[in-house]
Structure formats: structure tokens, C-alpha cells
Amino acid sequence: MIRKDVEKILLKVQKPGRYVGGELNAVVKDKQSVDVRFAFCFPDTYEIGMSHLGMKILYSLFNSYPYVWCERVFAPWLDMEEQMEKNNIPLYALESGDELSEFDFIGFTLQYELSYTNVLHMLKMSDIPLLSKDRKDLFNIVVAGGPCCCNPEPLADFVDVFFLGDGEEVDMEVIDLYRECKKNGDSKEEFLKKASKIEGVYVPSLYDVSYNDDGTVKEIKPIGDAPKKISKRVIMDMDNSYYPKDFVVSNVEIVFDRAVGEIFRGCIRGCRFCQAGFLYRPVREKSVDCINEQCHTLCKNTGYDEVSLNSLSSSDYSQIVPLLEKMSKWANEENVSLSLPSLRVDGFSDDILNKIKTVRKSGLTFAPEAGTQRLRDVINKNVYEDELLSTCKVAFEGGYSAVKLYFMIGLPTETYDDVKGIADLGKSVVDTYYSCDNRQKGKSVRVTLSASSFVPKPFTPFQWEAQDTREELEKKQRHIKESLASKKLVYNYHDADTSFLEAVFARGDRKLCKVLLKAAEYGMHFDSWSDCFSLEKWLKVFEECGVAPEFYANRKRDFAEVLPWDHLDYSISKEFLVNECKKAYENKTTENCREKCANCGANKYGGGVCFEKRKNMV
């Protein structure tokens, strides 16, 4: 529904279709007939939020209950925000047009640290008190889920309830509890206490954090009978877990404008820098029939002519070729193309290539992550140069002429030789192209080298590492540039300043709450957008709050230090992480979950890849 006051400003902003709702499959209910209204907020723009699979799953799941109405809320872009402010229009949900302050739950998904300011900004836009303690009633409960909840401490003062792990079950349990508490006339405190007993729920206000003189965490103590350790929730039976039959189909073009099938959760690899690879353990696959059915239904109900098979590493799906075979039968008939993101260098075969041979043969992307074998061993990437080159050869002979390679700089133990290795590897790919007899004739090759900066993250073997300083990172960026030996190489790099801020919040503690509050006061937001981000402003905020950001980003931590997220349990044992970190220093790799169990702790769920029969076992 379009609000009358919004209608007046829509023609003054870019892409106004983002602010009106009414899309195909959007769910509109009668607000009088529901008990719980849930505002699902994505703290970024419509095009980004609407592309997010987790939101689609939970939106449909919540709305499948007749007593819940879940609506979508996105952060308006700067021009819209300015108009809303000028005309006193609060932030509203797309389905009803009602402002956030009318909702029982205001739920955020925390996908990246740089969206934290948007969370606060969105609350501010609807005049909702930012601090949890200032929202006294059992109403406007602010909840958050998503990967960043593995260290939610920088948001501890603002959010009432964090959901750890898979949301499908725990979110509904909390919604049901709220409904019950509301009927009983319980207070917010009573609700929170009861909620803290649900597995996967973390209520930060029920924990006291004390600090040592050096600023590190001394102890995290539960108040009352809140659990000492909070475990993530995990869905083990993926085939029978809820999956939407339709998506809200955006009228305006969004980033990933297609149907999405989820093929498995988790990742067998255990790359040591990758947080997702540890947070989502163990690997749990869906069956071929289940995925095939879900994708087909989605295409039928949305009208999308493209379906993408998502996971952390799609070529690691144990049945990938049978799946593609099964799907291509109807896909070809119905003019639907299949796409497979997150391909590994070693998982790229002719078989797969032929099935996903869609039209736009523009480019392929691989992520070797590091330039030399030694450093790839340190990060446990388990990808070899000859694999990369032979994969590129297959791609070039299959008609591709552009390859994008993702790297990270600032990885632990990195030397300038490793950094130069990035440029060298790029050159080898260019040479491979010209050594292919079957390459597309008369076409030049383009190899894009993209370097981002390493950000140490909680629950990874590198969670104790210091991030390179910005100066060091910039020096390394220049070093690559100077080492480029071919005009076919295009080099771009990620701004080191944003990576620095990301590192601060990724491993931050509750002392950062006041920093975020101050930043919100200054109206800072959209930090993941270069239009808005200013490190200068941030440094000023840190200084005013008496907080040194380097303490979080650039300090190497001791294995014995109490980490701000030590009370959260993602099933990965600290012992395992320490061990992995030590192995990294010795340039030693670890087998993937299918080859050999590394004893990380995720087998406690009694399923998934941990209990798959291994090929080398009789």
C-alpha cells in the first residue's frame, strides 16, 4: 500500500519502485486478525535486501502462520531519506505502510559489520528508542539474526534478543513465546528471561561483562539463571526444513534477480580465514529430488527464467552432476537457465560447464585467495596452481575469455613475495590463454585480479590475529600494482579503510556500543557505501568515546585471552581452532570434512557430513 504522504515525494527520488511494495507474491494480511506483527528489516537498500535468501525463507515461513504478519523494511537510499525527513515521514514497512513503531517485533538480519550503523539509523527513522533498556514494554522487541550474531557484542545495548544459527525453528519459538507472554500480560523482563531458555537465543542484557586493566575481557557472567553458554541452533533435516514455494518478485531490478535453490548449508573445506566455513558446520545437504522440486516450483511461481544453486561452495555438492542433469530436463523445455555461483577451481569440470552453459559467457570467477602455494597452505585453501591453470584452460577452450581472480592481502605470515605472487599468478593465467589452441579466435583475454584486505573474524583459526595496519595494506596494494607484467591484467583492490572498520566491529566488545551510539547521533550510516563512508569521521567518533580502534583491529591476541564471544557456542571447539592456527604457522594443511574428520566438534549434532560414508572407508 502506498502511503498518501509518500506518494507526494516518490517522483523526486531515484527508482521510486523500491518504496511502494505491491510486488507479485507480497503478503498482505488484515492487521486486526493477526496476533504478532513482525517487521523484517534488512539494513541496506532494497536491491540488496531483496536479493537475500535468508530473508525470503523467513518471510514466507513467518507468513505461513495465520497469526503472524511479517512485512519487509529496507533502508531508504539517501535521496529518499532526505525527502522523508523533510516531510516528517517515518520509516515504514512496504506491505502495510505502517511505521516500525507499530510492530511487535523489529527484526534485523546482520550480514556484515558495516551495516550496524544502518540498524540504529533505521530505528531512529521511526523514533524507536535505540537502547534496549529505554524500550520498557513488551512491544517493539528488537531482535537480530544472521552470521554477525556470532559476536553481537557491539550491538548488545541495542538489541533485545539475538538468534544464533539457523533461524527457521528458533525464530518461530520466540514469536510463539511472545504471543503467549502477551496473552498472559507478562512484562518484557519476564519474556526475555523465558526466551533465554530457548536454545539459540542470546539475551545480552542477562549477562555482565567485566574487563581487565588492559581493556581485555575478564569475565562474562550470566545474571540469574541465564545459561552460561549459548548454543547456536542447527537444522539437521534439510529436506524437511521449510523452504518457500514463491518469492516476492521485485518490480525493479535487484542485484540477484532470479530464483534461488539452496543445495546445502555449511562447507567441507575449512579455509582458515573463512567465518562462514566454520559457523555453518556441519555440512548438511538436501537431496537431489528435494532441490529439483523446490527450484521447479519457484520458477513456476515467480516467472523467473534463471535459477541459481546456492551454497558456500556449489561444486562440493556430492550429487552435483545428477542434480544438473535432472534440472536441465525441465529447464531446457521451459527456457530456464541454471547458474552455479561459488565454484571452486578444483570443482570445475566439462560436465558442469555444459549444463550451466547459459548465454552470457562473459566471465568466470575463481578465488585462489593467495598468490603462492605456501600461503594457500597457510590458509588451508587446498587449491594448486596447476589446478587453477587447467581449469582456466577448460574455460578458455569452452569459449570464455575473461577470468576474475579474488585474492586477499594481509593474511597471516604473508611476505612481499606472497604479494607479488598474485601478479605472477595472473600472468600465468594470461599465458595459459595464449597457449590454448582452441581459444576463441581474434579475442583478447582479460584477467581481473581483485584484492581485498584480510579481516580476522571470530570462530576462525585466525581469530587471534592482528590485522595489518592500513599503511601496510596500502603498501601491499601498491606492490601488486608494481609487479603487474601484462597489459591483459586488470587490477583492483578493496579500500583498506573499510576493512579496518570491519575488523574493529567483527571482534569488538560491548565498549563499542557507545561508539555506535555516538555514530548514530552524528547520523552516520551506509558505511558499506563509498558515498557515505568516512574513516576520518569514524576516527573522530572513536576519539570522542575514548576507544582505540587499533585495540580491536591491529592487536594480536593471546590464545589464553577471554574473547568477547567466548560465551557463545557455535559447536567449534576452541582447542580445534588453536590447533588449526598452529598448523597454519607450520604451513600445514588440514583435510576437508569428506576426506578426514578434523575433530572440530560439529559432529555433536549427529548428522550431516560427519556421518557420511567416506569413499576411502570400507
Binding site: L10, L11, G17, G22, L24, N251, V252, E253, T302, D305
Partner: protein
């Protein structure tokens, strides 16, 4: 195979989507509806659809044409609305379909109904000042074209106009449109705003499309 011209409304939420987005919305609706539309046979297979006269973002259209080819010669055009409508978002509704009588290139003018509101002056004042403007021999406005900015006299371009003041100000305009000369009614609104130095809120509806000689585009 036969040609089909499908007539639809574009309003409410869909008033705010661009022509490119409309194109995608329609392609998805066709894909979902399984309407036997002819698909292109190139590298990027998609339903072959064209729009005779794109509608600006923000305008309501009540009789908008979309052309496509139907593969089945015996296909009943009457079923097209019931097939497509469940596949379309709020704000786009298919009304009817027929075999095209004219070519898209025959289009020469369109009729617009515009309701005007001002936050600053009364309806009476708005009515009289707008009428005043329309009476002038010359209404000059800068128009951006591909070749650069040029000044045009809108008065010469207005094929007919009518302004009334019942409970709101309603302006009916017929303006040239099509591939050779296209005049956007917003230009007149802008000319008024420039002349009066204040803002008006205009709701523009394209009500009809005509071919050379004034017959209805069908």
C-alpha cells in the same frame, strides 16, 4: 503464428517502475502464465515483446499497448487477460487483446488527463494562472534532446487543450508523440512552475493514443 496487441493499465504501485522494469515484469508474467508467446531464438532466449509507446515513470496509463506474437493461430485472445492477470503485480492489469490494426510507427499523438494540486495557492488561483499561461502565444521551455538543450515553443506543439475546475483542476491535453516528435506533458508543468516560481503536484494519466488523422490507435 499471429500478432497480438495486448492492452493493459499501469497504475498504483506500478506507476513507479521504469520502462525497462516494465519489460522485465511483463516477460516474467508471460513466462509464469505459459501464454504461448513466441520466444526469440538467439543466444538469450526470452519472450519477444515490444511496446509501441513507452510510458514515462510516474505516469498512469489506462490503455497501454504491448505487442507480441502468439504461436498458436487458433489461440483465443479473450483468454489472455485471465491468463496474465494472476501473474502480474498490483498495478498492472491486462484488459483485452486484439490483432494490431496499425503499426507502432503510425502513432502520432496521445491524450493526457492531468490533475493539478498546489500546496501554496488556492484552486481558484491555480486555475486562473494556468488558464492564463495556456492563452499565451508562446510558452517557452528548454528541452533536453540527444543533441543538447534547445528551446521549444510548447504552445505550437499543443494539439488541443481543455482546463476545468470542478472539485480539482483537471487539464486535458493532446500532444504529439511517437518516433519523430514527442512532447512530454511534464514540460508544460515545468513551464508553469518556472513562470509562477512555485511547485505544483501533477498526476498525469495517459488516456489514449492516436494515429495520424486522429483515429484511435488499435
Amino acid at each position: 503464428m499471429k500478432n497480438a496487441r495486448i492492452w493493459f493499465e499501469k497504475r498504483d504501485e506500478c506507476k513507479y517502475i521504469s520502462h525497462l522494469d516494465l519489460n522485465r515484469v511483463m516477460m516474467r508474467a508471460i513466462q509464469k502464465s505459459k501464454l504461448p508467446v513466441w520466444y526469440t531464438e538467439g543466444f538469450n532466449i526470452h519472450p519477444y515483446i515490444t511496446f509501441a509507446l513507452p510510458l514515462s515513470l510516474g505516469f498512469v496509463g489506462v490503455r497501454e499497448p504491448m505487442d507480441c506474437r502468439i504461436e498458436d493461430d487458433n489461440f483465443d485472445f479473450m483468454t489472455i487477460p485471465e491468463l496474465l492477470n494472476p501473474c502480474l503485480p498490483n498495478g498492472i492489469k491486462v484488459i483485452s487483446a486484439n490483432e494490431p490494426k496499425y503499426k507502432a510507427g503510425d502513432i502520432s499523438s496521445a491524450e493526457y488527463k492531468i490533475s493539478l494540486v498546489s500546496n501554496y495557492i488556492s484552486n481558484e488561483e491555480l486555475y486562473s494562472s494556468f488558464t492564463e499561461l495556456l492563452k499565451k502565444d508562446e510558452i517557452l521551455i528548454e528541452k533536453k534532446t540527444k543533441k543538447g538543450v534547445k528551446t521549444v515553443n510548447l504552445k505550437e506543439q499543443i494539439l488541443s487543450f481543455d482546463i476545468s475546475n470542478s472539485d480539482k483542476i483537471c487539464l486535458t491535453l493532446v500532444l504529439p508523440c511517437g518516433s519523430t516528435n514527442n512532447v512530454n506533458p511534464n514540460l508544460l508543468i515545468k513551464a508553469y512552475e518556472n513562470a509562477m516560481q512555485n511547485e505544483v503536484f501533477a498526476e498525469i494519466i495517459r488516456t489514449d493514443i492516436f494515429v495520424e488523422g486522429g483515429s484511435r490507435f488499435e
